[in-house]
Structures are given as C-alpha cells and as structure tokens.
Amino acid sequence: MPKIRFVFLFILALVIISAYYCLAYDLPRFFPFNKENALSEWQEKIFKNKVLYRVEPKREGGYLLAKSDKACSGIFYKIKFNPKEYPLVSWKWKVITFPDKDRAKKTYGGWLERDDYAARVYIIFPAFIFTNTRAIEYIWDETLPEGTILTSPYWHNIKLVVIESGRINIGQWVLAERNIYEDYRRAFRGNAGGVGAIALMTDTDNTLSTAEALYKEINVGFKK
C-alpha cells in the first residue's frame, strides 16, 4: 500500500508540474507587429460592428493599424502573469484621427455617448466569479486631462486611465510605459490579482464617427 500511495503522489506531482509549465508564459512577451501573421494568436472580439485591424509589417518597422467607422471591436490576447512580479507594460501608439465627440456634446449626450477613444490598451484581471473581473484601460483622449482615472459607464469594474491627452502629439509615435500593479492600486484601492489578458481597441460606436490609431512594440510583463 505505501508503494501505491507513493506512485500516486508521484504521478500527481508530475501532472501538477507539467500543468504549471504548460500554462506558464514566456515573459516578457513582445508584439512587434512586423510579420504578416502577427495577429494569428490574437482573437477578435466584436461589440458593435467590426473595426479594421490590419498589420502593416513593412512600414515604420511594423505596426498594427486600427480604423473604426461607427464600430466597436477589439483584439484580445490571453496571457497569464503576476503583475506584482512583472509589473511593467509598454507600447508605442499613434493617433491619426480622434472620434468626433462634438456631436454628443451638441445633442447633450451623456457619458456613454462620449465613451469612444482613438486608442485603448486593456489589462484584464479575470476572477473565479466573472462579476469580479476587473480591467484597466489606458486611453488616449482628445480632451480629458492626463492622469484622470474614470469609471467606465458600462461597469464599475472597468477603470479608464488617461495617459495621453490632446492633439499635440497627433500623428506621432508616443511611447507609453505603465506599472500596472501601481495603477491597479490607484484605480481600485486594492492589490491586483493575476493578469489574464491584454486587449487593444479603437472604437467609435457611441459617437457614430470615425477614428484611426496605430499600435506597435507592445511589451508585456517585465520589470526593471
């Protein structure tokens, strides 16, 4: 009997170790968008109509083009890591066209009617019960001041962090680097759990306008 118990424990340990290594991701994960098939590992998630996401591998060292026309869809990449251990995420983004929020202002549209951004980068923190899922969205907005933290009109578990504001840098590549563990603490006043996914989105479904942005050199899960 002790032998059988030992064999059982050994097999169990092997299963646990192999499962751990199967689920482990190589960090940091770098997305240069310099190959035609760079989006093959990403999933498209459609909310309202499809945004055009296209990789341009040969231009400016490779980038991802996002073009939205009254649409809202994102691209989503599953990646698991501990943000306390690997808190940094960086990327470069360029806004070509901002969504037209004047129409919403003219029609006295509410916050939801203005909830469109030229560029968003999501860090998603899933939970065992989906209602506890939380997300930080880093946004580049035309008007909101840099450093603003907002709660999404859709869900209190989504916090929008304005990290780039205005039209000064429009048409230029801007590097963003964030400590997601610290941002989570500031936004949710608590410690972050594991990251489960990242996503990118350019949307104009609420303002019924158009927007265009480019993303490149996304580097996820590193420390200095």
Binding site: K45, F47, F130, R134, A135, W155, I158
Partner: protein
Amino acid sequence: MDNIKNKRKGWFFANKLHRQALLLVFLAAFVPTIVVAFCLYYLIFNITASEFGIPEIIAYNIIPAAQKVSTILLISAPITIFIILFFAYKITHKIFGPFDRIIREIDEHIAGKRKGHIILRKSDKFWPLAERLNKLLDKAET
C-alpha cells in the same frame, strides 16, 4: 382500555426517522438547486464571459442576463424548496409518525399493560399494517 387515545406528540418532528427522512428530502431539493445555480453561474456565465473577453462586452451582454437569472432563482428557489418541504413534511409525518406509536403499543401489549386495538388514523400510511396487527391481536385474544 379500547378508549385509550394514541395521540401524536406535539413536536415538529414525530421521531428520529421523520427527522432523517425530512433531512433527506431537504438535501435532495437543496443540493441540486445549488449545483444548478453553480452550473448556471460558472459553466455558462463564466465561460461565456471569458469567451467575450472585453469587459464592456461582458458588462453589456452577460451581466444583465445574469442579474435576471439570479433574481428569478432567488425568488423561485426558496418558494420551490418550501413547497417541496411542506409536502414532504406532511407525507413523511404520516409515514413515520405512527411508527413509534405502533412499536410502543405492541410493547405495551407484550407487557400486558394494554388491551384492545392499536389506534391509528385512516390517513396514516401504516394504517393497513395496524389493521392487520389488530386482527392478529383479536385472534390471539380468542
């Protein structure tokens, strides 16, 4: 001696058997409800949420549905369990309630402390048994 009334005790549970039977019914009603609720929440909503991925899509599509389902469950599940338990109590009381009384009366007959019939209500589930035992007692007395 025939006039002795064999009344039920005024307790909620007639005896240990009754309590056990009711517990069994309660678990049989409660456990599947919990399992169904868990399956609804985890297997359906959680997996759908993870497939939707983008939090706004989850918030827009799944949370309203989950709220409706949980409201329906919160109202209907306690009512259903209460109805099941109410009828289970009535039925199990009729089954297990007279059990102790039959044993007690037979013991009294054996000890010679009592004569006459075992008294049960016609609605009691053990009434056919008591009727036959009474016939047996009548035969033994003659």
